[in-house]
Symmetry: C2
Subunit: 277 residues, 2 copies
């Protein structure tokens, strides 16, 4: 990994990094915050939403004060492979910046769009190899990245101690963003889609007995709430399966980083408690 | 004033606004955070550095949690007039985005570049008229905006309860950024420059008996430290004049918003204490 920028923030060290990924076949960028001290520290992975790079969370979420206090490393990868020779689409919700944290099986996406394997394999291994980690980790994210955090944790529960989300896409098989992306990346067979749908995974009992609670914050003034996000599908699924899940509807909050910055301390504390249990 | 965007953040309301300024003869943009509740609240004005708009501080500084806790309004104006018909320069350190918080006397800048009058007159009046303020206020800023905060407070001590700065240009008459901008905006007569030089104003006793303390944070890994910022000129001037001034050299920190985000809570608390005294 090559360090492209370094900043001291809240007493810890923030690095912007890039590396050649064997999984995506591209150069991938990310940021890593390490608290002061020698560690080892547990790791919290952040997955961003549509159109984001690693920079949005890094500069806007205000998460590093809590990370420094709790002694947690925070890793924020980019949201997709990018660059020349990588497929793209002019729409903001498909292609570069919109990887949806799945491994694409369809042309033209399959060669590079392998974000599930990247995050759950290469990225985790790289962080454990290059930083002083406890080799334990949790995951959280926003919107498309909330979907990513939930589905990666539910599909790979052995990798994560806890999971939380801000305004996640609760059920991509039942909203326009998800239907469009899954058709493109996974094809027409909806049976394949169901394997990457947080509400359906919870309903199937995927996380039962693994995650004691799943924390979800959602602004009630979020313009994507009723058409795309549908958090009520998460609570319904959790009730059906007997899965612990706390949905906090936050009055007046929208879909922006101002919403996330307002509650990120709670999420870092939620994960720190479980990472250190 | 027209509200262009509204977000709830940390329980308060953040507005992006624009208005036609009689002072600059242009449309001016700004952001205003108001805590929850009816107020009235004291006001803290933030002045940004070179190349910034109101958006950099608003999205990156992480100041609104402390502002909500202390019950303080935060106002962040743009750093210059902008738009068609407004003079500009291709360099990042002159013209649009680089107003230096002075009233230009020289062509082609004089018609619109009147940031001192804008901030100390029209902006303050507008905020007091449109928001539930106590009609008391303090001021802080970064780099060029740290110079702005210091010089506006020292030149108009009746308007402000307190002043602080992050990595301010301590003495624009003695650094390349200041020499270039003051030549352009104020002309060749260095006697005019001295009226807008924080270190020289402190040395002349401008703030003595007005501000009990002036808080300055400076990263010791700031790449502009020795050539442009020169905080030692502030401490020397303060010692000479018997002015209270606390310079905190912060080890490892650079010139970025990560530095400001790390210490902004201290600055908001510093001002809140004096605004409520």
């Amino acid at each position: 990994m090559e360090t492209t920028k370094t900043h001291i923030v809240h007493g810890g060290t923030l690095r912007y990094l890039k590396h050649d990924s064997a999984t995506t076949g591209t150069s991938m960028t990310l940021s890593v915050f390490t608290p002061a001290g020698e560690g080892p520290f547990p790791v919290l992975i952040w997955l961003s939403g549509l159109t984001c790079t690693e920079d949005n969370f890094t500069t806007k979420a205000g998460a590093y004060k809590a990370a420094a206090e709790h002694g947690v490393i925070i890793v924020a990868p980019d949201t997709s492979p990018r660059g020349e020779g990588v497929a793209d689409d002019p729409a903001y919700d498909l292609g570069q910046g919109a990887g949806f944290y799945v491994d694409a099986t369809q042309a033209p996406w399959a060669p590079h769009f392998r974000m599930e394997s990247y995050v759950t394999g290469e990225l985790i291994d790289l962080i454990d190899a290059e930083f002083p980690t406890t080799k334990t980790r949790s995951i959280f994210g926003h919107s498309m990245g909330g979907h990513g955090a939930l589905t990666l944790a539910l599909r790979h529960p052995e990798l994560f101690k806890s999971v939380s989300a801000f305004a996640p896409i609760a059920s991509p098989t039942r909203c326009p963003w998800g239907e469009k992306a899954f058709t493109a990346y996974l094809g027409e067979d909806r049976a394949q889609w169901a394997k990457h749908d947080a509400a359906l995974l919870i309903e199937s009992g995927a996380a039962k007995g693994v995650f004691d609670d799943i924390l979800v914050d959602q602004g009630d003034a979020d313009s994507f709430l009723t058409d795309q996000l549908k958090p009520e599908l998460l609570t319904a699924a959790a009730e059906k399966a007997g899965q612990g899940l706390t949905l906090r509807m936050q009055p007046g909050y929208d879909h922006s980083y101002f919403f996330m910055a307002s509650f990120v301390d709670d999420h870092v504390a939620f994960h720190a408690e479980r990472l250190k249990a």
